[in-house]
Symmetry: C2
Subunit: 350 residues, 2 copies
């Protein structure tokens, strides 16, 4: 209870399983004589370069809700940081450092070693330093919890917000969508991409070419609405998006493509799965049409496909999203990609 | 499971219960045309002033372990931030902003309103802006979890670390100790100080006068060992502390004083309770003896008592802490303040 010391005292586990590994990491967050990593009441960071500003985000993952209890700890270590780095990517920010707080039932040495390896690998690859954290015990029947808060930097005034969409902008999405949800639908959780790559390099490049960006954590349709709602509020204009279902069908993930090829899903059904699949770690962004070639060139250099889904114009009407087919014919609302997979019939197992 | 949308979607609750209140807060973290508070993928901060560096800390609180399930939500809102601000105080840092991630069983409107009031009041008083967060659902039988990560600033190179203790330094502690543990021991949890004040003003003042500081989250004895162990490692000198049990008896909290007056505890027993009581939100610090008058003067101006417990010298021996009585006679190890309250007989209820 409140005054008793928890079985796992603050920093002990963090220092034991993460300290040594991360101490060698360095990174710009701690690259200064007056900086200090984990082990004190708080970390002390190298001064932020003049002309840059901080970007801050936080995410919490709960066992059984955001990951399977039996999941590979190395993948989980990767994922707890990746979800946060994806938020930085959506801001066009460069990673600086993060804190990690863990609610664990009991310290399991092998598990924590693997977890820290997955975490360290991504942190090291992205120059994101572990700055501190906390370890607390949760009851034996409770789910475990991981909470990360991440810091990044952007040049002053250059962050990619979600409210910057302008009339005439094209709407783009990176990568392939839908396989996360499709794997779960087909009870093939082991096929899920378990080391998602936050699109940091694309995000940084988009500071130059895009007006607004967001990551696809809640699914494409929901994130499109977030972009438009925020931009409507900021601009005062009734912005709407006109979107091609064919274009969306062109960025289906491999599992969904296979389902279409095997005629287990129609292309349109597959596109609707792709439109609501969350946890996708891809960027959805809006850019002036004249920047399209630059965006495609940069994406090609990053070996990352990007797809233009449509464009934005000023109203009229309350509907934010208007889907059309290859002939430009409107898709009826009840057939258009929705907000959740409740709209779908549950498929039979493959 | 992983791909389904959680019942409480990201930021929804944060925006609803915290957004409006905190939007008006302002504060230096967001006091810039190119800054942005909660509602995007990440917050964008005002540039950090040149000549300052960031200090970062994180803490997680679990229901039933760090607070009673039936505790007043306003006090809990205060506490989740206070524990983090206490870490900033121990670094001599000034608060800048924080993220809040919550694992909740279900959103309870009245509860969240009270919680946000307690949180807001302390955040507002200390100029610490809410920068973002996450809200996730935990199963109905699981404990709720609150995770805060806090940012502060210090002038470059002026942070108070725990490894700066020097031979000849005096050891000081702020405020009164022991009532937290005493209330729990006497089953008087409602008497616990439930709005602890992080010692931020003292911490900032100590940048001028102290060599090292730490907050008393794990209990005085444990924190003294942390100070000395870190400073031994840094200096390479076998530092030890000589401490007066009488001085410790002079900073007992009111509940402990009452227990001594009512002869339920001897002064020495009470001092041993005070020495192991954690969660105390007081600062333990080391300062050159010539700075003593300045420290007392500053503390007086802050209406905060400070007590000099003893001083530090170079070895010999393995024991870090040496307690003595008013005549300078050593206290035998088995009677000296220990590491936990397991050392005590359980008192009868008052």
């Amino acid at each position: 209870m409140p005054m008793s010391r928890p079985p796992l005292s603050e920093f002990d586990l963090i220092e034991r399983f993460f300290g040594a590994r991360f101490a060698q990491q360095g990174g710009r967050a701690l690259a200064h004589a007056e900086s200090l990593g984990i082990g004190d009441d708080a970390a002390i960071l190298a001064p932020i370069p003049v002309g840059e500003q901080l970007v801050v985000s936080a995410d919490m993952l709960v066992e059984g809700r955001h990951y399977f209890p039996e999941c590979d700890p190395q993948s989980l270590g990767h994922k707890v940081l990746a979800v946060n780095l994806s938020d930085l990517a959506a801001m066009g920010a460069r990673p600086l450092g993060f804190t990690l707080s863990m609610g664990l039932r009991a310290p399991r040495e092998a598990w924590l070693t693997s977890f820290s390896e997955g975490l360290y690998e991504l942190a090291s690859d992205t120059g994101c330093a572990l700055l501190g954290g906390d370890t607390v015990a949760v009851p034996s029947e409770a789910p475990e919890v991981f909470s990360v808060s991440v810091l990044g930097t952007v040049p002053l005034g250059r962050a990619l917000r979600r409210d910057g969409v302008c009339p005439g902008d094209q709407i783009w999405v990176s990568g392939h969508l839908g396989d996360g949800l499709e794997a779960v639908r087909r009870r093939l959780a082991h096929l899920r991409l378990d080391r998602p790559t936050p699109r940091l390099a694309l995000g940084e490049a988009l500071r130059e070419w895009a007006h607004a960006a967001i990551d696809v954590s809640d699914g494409l349709t929901a994130e499109l609405r977030h972009l438009l709602t925020a931009s409507r509020r900021r601009s005062g204009q009734p912005l709407v998006a006109h979107l091609s279902l064919d274009a969306l069908e062109a960025c289906l993930g491999p599992l969904l493509k296979e389902a279409v090829a095997g005629k287990r899903l129609s292309p349109r059904e597959a596109a609707r799965v792709a439109a609501v699949s969350g946890d996708e770690y891809e960027l959805l962004f809006a850019a002036p049409s004249e920047n399209g070639p630059h965006i495609e060139e940069r994406a090609k250099a990053l070996h990352l496909p990007v797809t233009c889904l449509g464009s934005v114009c000023v109203g009229p009407g309350e509907d934010l999203l208007h889907w059309h087919d290859s002939k430009g014919q409107p898709i009826p609302a009840h057939e258009a990609p929705g907000e959740s997979f409740d709209h779908f019939r549950t498929p039979t197992a493959p």
